[in-house]
């Protein structure tokens, strides 16, 4: 009979409840989520859909700002209102019904029109981690955009208009350490072997091995040996073009053992070495994106206000320029490969130790910078720098633009918009339509087609032509699209809201956890054809 196993610390109720998402963003991502405070402006169907997908994974807290009373129409598109609540404050009921989803989340509401709140208390919105604004008129959107831009608080604006959805993320600067790329080449450094790796590989005598061991040496070993031999015969150069790589593959193939009949044995590790030639002979370098980060002003000119990200980036830059000899710290992970256990583990440890050695240097450098800037010693922990170094090759910085600027007719998006509008498959046309709807609303205080489709088609066309004129775009408002938008009459389709709601919630989670790359910066969803597109303004 089995002995009762000790209860694992990882089996807490909380880690069980959130297990399926902890596998994605980890305990540290979860901790960031649980300490954030999200503000939702306007608890429409779309608004509550966004919050639903944030309350479930357990953000720390939310606040709803909405001055509207619940109407019958609201019930047809909003799941977090109930039939008995018509006439009651929308903020109150939505807060109640959303809180009921997850006792781990705190929530409150302000039953006040967002415009008034912004006027009376301009700093109200600047205390949140993220602000999400739905169905906001231009009149309120622009000052809110400016205020949050100044306060460096991310703002996500989302719309659901008939069969079209829209989301716009405004952020000044967002830094990502863990971007979780879907595919990535292993960081093996075969072109720039570090001393410990070279010593290890040189200490292995392939010829003296019996067949079994020979067929179970991790492919890195024969590949590096062959590469070193190649380079000694080719003036230190790597196989560069197709022909050289083919020849190099032949060299590796020659190392496969032959049986007594002169037929090559099946040595999977050598086949793996041959398959690895393509990426392993690429010179190890630093991607353009990471180079840009290392050259960034925020990296070069640190101040006592610099974020830990930039201090670590600077430490990284100093490492690259000194100990790293032009290279980033070694990632330290070894992909699985055909090998016996001891051979693989020995190699794995060599990579791990070198990676730790690099991270330690970066950490010392970071500590030095922290000290020099007069900041607290514990601002950057050793674990922080290790994580930073492990992901050094996929760091990302997103710098956005403000919505207020985008809406200013003087901004230089005209050629971009015109160019996109000329492409019949581009969804840019819906961006223009939605801007037209904003303008229409500002002018007539209703949505186009809310009451009269035919009459509003003409008016909406006028609004759009005016916009295009202001921007200096030569395109014209396309009749079909204007008609379609007027057909919607400002109605909200729940399933379109649910789609955009899910997307916006995930973008908010990216901003809060600092993991995964957010949309930069405008996203359009066309439910008619099930297509989406991203634009950068």
């Amino acid at each position: 009979m089995a002995s009762p196993a000790p209860k694992s610390p990882e089996q807490s109720e909380k880690s069980k409840k959130y297990d399926r998402q902890l596998r994605l963003w980890g305990d540290h991502g979860q901790a960031a989520l649980e300490t954030c405070h999200v503000c939702l402006i306007n608890a429409t169907g779309l608004g509550t859909e966004v919050l639903k997908s944030l309350v479930l994974p357990a953000i720390g807290a939310f606040t709803i700002v909405d001055g509207k009373k619940i109407t019958e129409e609201d019930l047809g598109t909003n799941f977090f209102l109930d039939v008995d609540s018509v006439g009651k404050p929308r903020a109150q009921i939505a807060t109640q019904l959303l809180l009921e989803l997850n006792p781990d989340v705190k929530g409150d509401y302000v039953d006040e029109c967002p415009e008034q709140l912004l006027e009376n208390n301009p700093n109200f919105f600047t205390h949140f981690t993220v602000v999400i604004a739905i169905a906001l008129s231009e009149r309120v959107l622009i000052p809110l955009s400016k205020s949050l831009w100044a306060a460096n608080v991310p703002l996500i604006v989302a719309k659901s208009c008939g069969l079209i959805g829209y989301a716009r993320i405004q952020l000044r600067e967002h830094t990502v350490v863990e971007s979780h790329p879907d595919t990535q080449n292993p960081d093996l450094r075969l072109d720039r072997p570090f001393p410990a790796l070279l010593r290890h590989v040189e200490s292995i005598d392939l010829d003296g091995m019996d067949l079994k061991d020979h067929a179970h040496v991790p492919y890195v070993v024969p590949l590096l040996k062959c590469l070193q031999a190649w380079r000694s015969q080719h003036g230190g150069n790597l196989p560069a073009n197709y022909k050289e790589k083919e020849n190099f593959r032949m060299e590796i193939r020659k190392c496969i053992r032959l049986n007594e009949d002169g037929v090559p044995e099946a040595e999977e590790n050598f086949e793996e070495a041959i398959r690895a030639v393509n990426f392993a002979t690429l010179p190890t370098g630093i991607s353009k994106d990471v180079q840009d980060i290392l050259k960034d002003d925020s990296c070069i000119n640190l101040t006592s206000k610099s974020k830990p990200f930039w201090i670590m980036a600077r430490a990284l830059q100093d490492f690259v320029a000194n100990e790293g000899e032009g290279l980033l710290p070694l990632r330290g992970s070894l992909p699985d490969m055909t090998a016996d256990t001891t051979g693989y583990i020995a190699l794995q440890q060599i990579y791990q130790q070198e990676s730790l050695r690099c991270a330690e240097i970066v950490h010392r450098r970071a500590q030095h910078l922290v000290h020099h800037l007069g900041l607290a010693d514990d601002l950057i922990t050793e674990a922080d720098t290790r994580l930073f170094c492990k992901h050094a090759s996929d760091l990302a910085v997103v710098r956005g633009t403000s919505i207020a600027d985008e809406y200013d007719p003087k901004t230089p998006n005209a050629s971009y918009i015109t160019q996109q509008l000329d492409d019949p498959t581009s969804l840019m046309v819906y961006y223009v339509m939605l801007r037209g709807v904003d303008k229409f609303y500002a002018e007539y205080n209703t949505y186009p087609g809310e009451f009269n489709v035919e009459a509003d088609i003409v008016k909406l066309k006028g609004c759009i032509s005016k916009l295009l004129g202001e921007w200096g775009c030569t395109s014209v408002a396309k009749d079909d699209y204007v008609h379609e938008i007027c057909r919607y009459g400002g109605s909200e389709w729940h399933s379109v809201s649910a789609f955009i709601g899910g997307c916006v919630a995930q973008e908010a989670i990216k901003l809060i956890t600092g993991q995964y790359k957010p949309v930069n910066n405008t996203f359009i969803y066309d439910a008619i054809t099930s297509n989406t597109e991203t634009f950068t303004f």
């Binding site: 109720e13 129409e73 047809g76 699985d336």
Partner: protein, 449 residues
């Protein structure tokens, strides 16, 4: 169109609550389905006639039920064989702590019916396999949010078997579209299947990623990863030591703990790092990461398609959309192609006329070999009787041939074959098995077609 009270019967669809949907359904637009005729009647159909089946009341299912209910659907059935677990609560938003252990279908239906007055969700706490064709035939549209390939393939087979053809022409009234969604972490897909017309689940079976497996000899002798150690305990050590006298149950914490301990021992022995309880749990239960947001997106996309199919307000998705929001938000929409050799949907059931039930199996086989359009060589024949597979005759497998040879002398009646019985026939002359539906005049059937 005539919109008299007689046809409407019910005025619910005129409520102000539905004015969002009514705008789109009562107005024409340039991007509508070519046959779309705006009318108040459409919403009435959605609300009072259209019957939708939701398969699965999990991450996608909860979202689907909410979406459909808010898109006006009222006649909704939901099937789910699972009960609620704590780890569901991070995304299956119709469930609470107090519901743990209760059937998902029941709790979900109750919640929706309480929140959306007029909506009538009927729950079925059962397996999809517990229902027959009569049950499935009652629905206009089926939408599935499943985590199992087997279940998807079963449903696919079911809707294909409901199709009927007249003179080779598909009878469209027998077509039940299936909208299918799936998610994994930040990735997902939504698709529309028009059985018999567009690519089916079986046509695109290779789109499902194969399960991650490791060579047995690696697991046994040269483990390198913590996963190898876990698989060793799962595949080899458990069978040898049989610690609980039963197969592994991924939901039994004692089992997981035992595997964790043993895998840890093995990892230590081989000096392998990185073995955590979470990893053990994930490998043993084959856990797929899941978040609320991806489920919301994919279920929304599916619900939009259900509404399009029911209302004809737009052309449905043609026919596959993939979604990934790891790096920004990426989607790709394309037409998955029908496989002309598909095991499931290229198999239009062919009609085989026989004179009566007194025909012997040998005569039937002879006729398949002599028939100029088949000219079979040595057909093997099986059938399904009362849901059970039955081998009628397999000429090429000695042990079966010996035991089915007797059947050759039996009549179709004696073998339990009736008018409409299906014969599954495999022969070297065809790359696929062919399904024949037997047509024999019934003795007391006086109806002439």
């Amino acid at each position: 169109m005539d919109i008299g009270n007689e046809t409407l019967g019910n005025q619910d669809h005129l409520q102000r609550r539905w004015s969002h949907l009514r705008k789109l359904l009562e107005r024409s637009g340039p991007f509508c389905h070519p046959d779309f005729e705006p009318s108040a009647e459409i919403l009435n159909f959605v609300m009072s006639s259209c019957k939708v089946l939701v398969i699965g009341a999990g991450g996608l299912g909860c979202e689907l039920l909410k979406n459909l209910a808010l898109m006006g659907f009222r006649e909704i059935h939901v099937i789910d064989m699972d009960t609620i677990d704590l780890s569901n609560l991070n995304r299956q938003f119709l469930f609470r702590i107090k519901d743990i252990g209760k059937p998902k279908a029941d709790v979900a239906a109750e919640f929706i019916n309480a929140r959306i007055p007029g909506c009538k969700v009927t729950p079925h706490y059962s397996k999809i396999q517990d229902f027959d064709e009569e049950f499935y035939r009652q629905f206009h549209i089926i939408v599935s949010g499943l985590d199992s390939i087997v279940a998807r393939r079963w449903m696919n087979g079911m809707i294909l078997s409901l199709l009927s053809y007249n003179e080779g022409e598909l009878d469209q009234s027998t077509l039940i579209p299936m909208v299918d969604g799936g998610t994994e972490g930040f990735k997902g897909n939504a698709r529309v299947i028009l059985p018999g017309i567009s690519a089916c689940i079986e046509c695109t079976l290779d789109l499902f990623p194969p399960q991650v497996t490791y060579p047995l000899c690696t697991i046994a002798n040269t483990p390198r990863l913590p996963e190898h150690c876990i698989e060793y305990v799962k595949l080899i050590q458990w069978g040898k030591e049989n610690p609980f006298d039963c197969p592994i149950d991924g939901d039994d914490p004692n089992h997981i703990n035992w595997i964790y301990e043993k895998a840890q021992e093995r990892a230590r022995q081989f000096n392998i790092g990185g073995l955590t309880f979470r990893l053990v749990h994930g490998v043993v239960k084959n856990i797929i990461p899941a978040v609320a947001s991806t489920n919301a997106v994919i279920a929304a996309s599916c619900a939009t398609e259900v509404f399009k199919l029911a209302s004809s307000c737009c052309l449905p998705l043609n026919n596959y959309m993939v979604f990934n929001d790891v790096d920004g938000i990426y989607t790709y929409t394309y037409e998955a192609e029908k496989n002309p050799d598909c095991l499931a949907c290229s198999n239009n059931v062919k009609t085989l006329d026989v004179k009566d039930g007194n025909m012997k199996l040998q005569e039937l086989i002879d006729s398949l070999c002599e028939n100029p359009s088949y000219q079979m060589k040595s057909p093997g024949i099986t059938t399904v009787i009362d849901g059970k597979n039955k081998t009628l005759y397999l000429p090429l497998i000695k042990s079966i041939e010996e035991r089915t040879r007797e059947n050759l002398k039996k009549t179709l009646n004696e073998l339990g074959l009736k008018n409409g019985s299906q014969l599954i026939v495999a022969d070297v002359t065809n790359p696929n098995t062919i399904i024949f539906s037997l047509r024999m005049p019934k003795e007391n059937d006086m109806v002439v077609e």
